[in-house]
């Protein structure tokens, strides 16, 4: 308890509802725009089935996160690794984790910049966009996780409404025959697509363990609600995959960098709703803002707590500068980015999003007694 006071965070508290909204935004963050393409590329006609498989597999990972959070309530990831792995090893792993979150933040920042620069404001230097987005993120993080959550609560209805508009009005142009025959692709193809999808939307959820369950005010009956939130979030991805492949065709979807954006471009409901691609761009940037914020928050808090600073707020500004610098050099080109995402990212996120918590949980259970004696 002392520690919480030292960190000056004792007042911060978020509701379960806010946390779930944050989780949903995190899951659909980058995926809503990028997933359909990679899913269609690997699983062809069965892209949406692949997404469903990813949803099922992701459920297991969510439960793993849940288990570890319940094993050590009132503690965040840094506390847990120090407890379980010992002080120095724990600190080292935490630093690595901070690095993981920082790299992820930089790559998400690059993704925003890249999207805007290729699709919308073509001649604007990427640096300016990165700087502006990061400015907003740093400002938000300085104001605290509570503020971020409230902002998410404000924006959430808009994001859902905007996405629903795209979904609903795409339905008339859905042609089921585009994805027939069903289950045409092999199991390999489907699982490959699912693996990529999980690595983007589910595994990184580990960073949310920095706020969960420590700052969540309600502690009862959390799991069903969280799982429901997760399923809802994944439903968005499955639905958009289904819609893009049936409306655009599988090959076209796979060949587009941003298939969802193309869907929005071709939307035309009797002149009432047309030229609505900015809608999807806006809601996407909003979701990705929260994803970026959470990555950045995790990176900063983990670092600050590991080296024992009085407040994480004191290093947000320099960390923001580092993120900007990193985002500018992280991917030399889009080709490099695609290649990296396809080959290494899966393993990178698997290490920190699956192996790491699994180890913590297992070792924590094995060392159960000594830890509880430490606790008291």
């Amino acid at each position: 308890m002392m520690r919480m006071e030292v960190y000056g965070l004792v007042k911060e508290e978020i509701t379960l509802r806010q946390f779930i909204l944050l989780m949903i935004l995190f899951i659909i963050g980058t995926s809503i725009l990028l997933s359909p393409a990679s899913l269609a590329a690997s699983a062809d006609n069965d892209a949406w089935i692949s997404a469903l498989v990813a949803m099922g597999a992701g459920l297991v990972i969510i439960v793993l996160f849940w288990i570890i959070s319940q094993q050590f309530p009132e503690r965040n990831l840094v506390d847990i690794s120090e407890l379980v792995l010992g002080k120095w090893l724990g600190k080292a792993v935490s630093l690595l984790f901070s690095y993981f979150a920082l790299i992820s933040a930089a790559s998400v920042l690059w993704t925003v910049g890249n999207f805007l620069v290729t699709q919308i404001i073509v001649r604007t230097p990427a640096l300016v966009i990165h700087f502006l987005v990061m400015f907003a993120v740093v400002y938000g993080i300085q104001l605290g996780i509570e503020t971020i959550c409230r902002t998410a609560e404000i924006f959430f209805p808009y994001i859902v409404t905007l996405l629903s508009i795209i979904y609903l009005f795409s339905i008339p142009s859905v042609e089921i025959k585009q994805i027939q025959p069903l289950l045409d692709s092999s199991f390999k193809q489907i699982s490959e697509g699912a693996a990529f999808d999980i690595s983007v939307s589910v595994l990184p959820l580990i960073v949310l363990l920095m706020v969960f369950p420590k700052y969540v005010s309600e502690k009862k009956r959390m799991l069903p609600k969280i799982l429901l939130g997760y399923v809802c979030a994944y439903f968005f991805i499955v639905a958009i995959t289904f819609i893009t492949t049936t409306v655009l065709g599988v090959r076209v979807t796979a060949n587009q960098s941003y298939p969802t954006y193309v869907i929005a471009k071709s939307l035309n409901i009797e002149g009432l709703i047309q030229r609505a691609e900015v809608i999807i761009a806006v809601s996407w940037i909003l979701t990705i803002f929260f994803k970026l914020s959470m990555y950045f928050y995790a990176s900063v808090t983990v670092l600050a707590q590991t080296i024992g600073l009085t407040s994480y707020r004191s290093i947000t500004i320099p960390m923001g500068l580092i993120t900007i610098a990193l985002s500018l050099i992280i991917y030399p080109s889009t080709i490099y980015a695609n290649d990296w995402n396809e080959t290494t990212w899966l393993w990178f996120s698997l290490t920190f999003g699956f192996v790491y918590p699994l180890l913590l949980s297992v070792i924590g259970r094995l060392r159960g007694k000594s830890i509880s004696s430490n606790n008291s």
């Binding site: 919308i120 502006l132 907003a136 400002y139 104001l143 409230r150 047309q274 909003l286």
Partner: protein
């Protein structure tokens, strides 16, 4: 209560000037005259009274602040004629036979006599220091001083020329009470008391301002308002250390949670019904003497979109109107910036035929859309400001100049496109929809920021602006209550009176974050007309 009156920090200078009244009337008067610099508006009437006519009495009041009739009829008349027969022992301090002690004894006896039997005024206060003497005289009381007494009595004779209760100039309604607060504190508290005749309506006041000594009253419903917030209000008021308070705006600025924000975190209103409704919800009103604007805390974002009239009209209609206000808020904030963004960055979003006509209008306009918009917006702001300051008679001239000369002629001269004129007018009209004037000001300030963001990054500039704005709003608190509640944090029960307005019988709870304990209001029932059959039965019974 005691905490409130115990000033936390006393001005050291004031401390040194705390002087007890002298027993000698002459000494007192001399001191008084010196201090007020023989100001001509202060009347010092000395006369002799009593059976023997040996008692020196002085009556002090500030002319203009007192009700002259009251002073004449009940004080001067009483003292000079009615107690003519009463034996008031002359202190006769001039005679050397008496010692000082005697003088005081006599004086105090006479003082008690007059106070108990002769003073027909209602509110009489004892005064024993010079400081209090000044305060009472200068705030409109009449002070009676007796020679030989170390006490003086202050009779409440306040009665200055003041504006009557009129229709408020802001926040006017079509349906609903048309009374507005005035500049007089007592009138204002009376207006509130008249609406809430509950013993739990507590009104406590205290002068604030070392020079102005302005009365500031805190009004709340005891048992309904959150005690913690009440304490916080007192605490913040006590912390105020300022020479003068000339309007409630001073208080607002000194007690708000966050100074560096364009948004008001303290609500103000000229309408007693609005303030009374706020008090009934558990909010705390701060009435400042000399200002018709009463403050209300805690203030939430949604409150600035609610008009008193919402509760006097039908619920469905009020909901619609509220939604329109929110729409107007976004229009006022974003129209020019969206126009700039669309026409300079996102032409693909404009339908072809409209784009063609827009671009035909812009042929020959020398400035970029941003400069064009800035030009028109600034012109409008100048016009608006001029319109507020100008004498009413000239006001119509301004609107002619604004509408005709600047609108029509600027288009014809090719300085701005006609679409821009539409945009600016729409913005201008929308910015007046908000029932709260100070909220409209913040929108107007932010608009320019959004315009420059739109000019550099298009819609994405606007989006980033909105993200930062929402972050900022989400971080604000008003007296500990999150500014954006009940939206964020989301409170389901409070949605009944936030963006929507549910029917009266649904509004049975008070806002959750405003008062933690006393949630339930009276349980109103939906009106249910009696069935004809039962009505007939009853008739038969009768």
């Amino acid at each position: 209560m005691s905490r409130f009156f115990r000033s936390k920090r006393q001005n050291p200078q004031e401390n040194s000037t705390t002087i007890k009244l002298y027993p000698s009337l002459q000494q007192n008067i001399t001191h008084f005259k010196q201090t007020v610099g023989e100001s001509t508006d202060i009347v010092i009437r000395t006369f002799k009274a009593g059976q023997t006519g040996s008692m020196d009495i002085a009556v002090l009041y500030t002319s203009g602040l007192v009700n002259n009739e009251l002073v004449h009829d009940f004080i001067l008349d009483t003292l000079m004629s009615e107690i003519r027969k009463t034996p008031l022992d002359a202190p006769a301090h001039k005679s050397k036979r008496y010692k000082t002690k005697h003088i005081e004894e006599n004086g105090n006896k006479a003082y008690q006599l007059i106070k108990d039997y002769a003073m027909t005024g209602g509110n009489v206060t004892d005064i024993d220091t010079m400081e209090k003497l000044f305060l009472h005289v200068l705030s409109g009381d009449t002070v009676v001083m007796l020679d030989g007494s170390i006490q003086a009595m202050a009779i409440d004779t306040r009665g200055w020329e003041s504006r009557g209760v009129e229709e408020p100039s802001t926040q006017s309604v079509v349906r609903g009470p048309k009374e507005g607060f005035t500049e007089t504190l007592r009138t204002n508290t009376a207006l509130l008391r008249r609406r809430i005749k509950d013993p739990n309506l507590w009104i406590r006041s205290k002068p604030i301002g070392s020079k102005s000594k302005t009365d500031v009253a805190v009004v709340y419903l005891h048992g309904v308002a959150d005690e913690k917030v009440v304490k916080e209000v007192y605490h913040r008021l006590n912390k105020i250390n300022i020479d003068a308070i000339l309007d409630s705006g001073y208080v607002e600025e000194l007690i708000q949670d966050e100074t560096y924000t364009p948004f008001p975190t303290v609500y103000n209103s000229e309408r007693p019904d609005t303030i009374a409704a706020g008090i009934l919800e558990g909010r705390i009103a701060i009435v400042v003497d000399g200002s018709p604007f009463v403050l209300l805390v805690p203030a939430l974002f949604v409150q600035f979109f609610q008009s008193a009239e919402d509760y006097f009209q039908r619920a469905d209609f009020s909901t619609l109107i509220r939604l329109i206000r929110y729409m107007a808020f976004f229009l006022a904030l974003l129209t020019p910036s969206v126009y700039i963004a669309l026409t300079t960055y996102h032409q693909e979003m404009i339908p072809t035929s409209f784009l063609v006509s827009l671009s035909a209008q812009r042929e020959g306009v020398p400035f970029p859309a941003f400069v064009e918009a800035l030009l028109m917006e600034i012109t409008f702001e100048i016009l608006r400001e001029a319109g507020v300051r100008l004498p009413k008679a000239v006001g119509s001239a301004i609107s002619i100049v604004g509408a005709l000369v600047l609108g029509q002629a600027a288009v014809e001269a090719g300085i701005v496109s006609s679409a821009m004129v539409i945009v600016v007018s729409l913005t201008a009209i929308s910015s007046f929809v908000s029932p709260s004037f100070n909220f409209a000001i913040s929108i107007r300030m932010l608009r320019f920021g959004f315009m420059s963001l739109a000019a550099t990054l298009g819609l994405f500039g606007i989006l980033f602006g909105l993200i930062i704005l929402t972050l900022h709003l989400a971080s604000l608190r008003s007296f500990g209550v999150p500014y954006l509640s009940p939206m964020a944090p989301f409170i389901g029960a409070d949605q009944k009176d936030a963006i929507l307005r549910f029917p009266r019988w649904k509004l049975t709870t008070r806002p959750r974050l405003i008062n933690q304990s006393n949630m339930d209001r009276e349980d109103a029932k939906a009106p249910k007309p009696e069935k004809r059959k039962r009505l007939n039965q009853r008739k038969e019974q009768e």
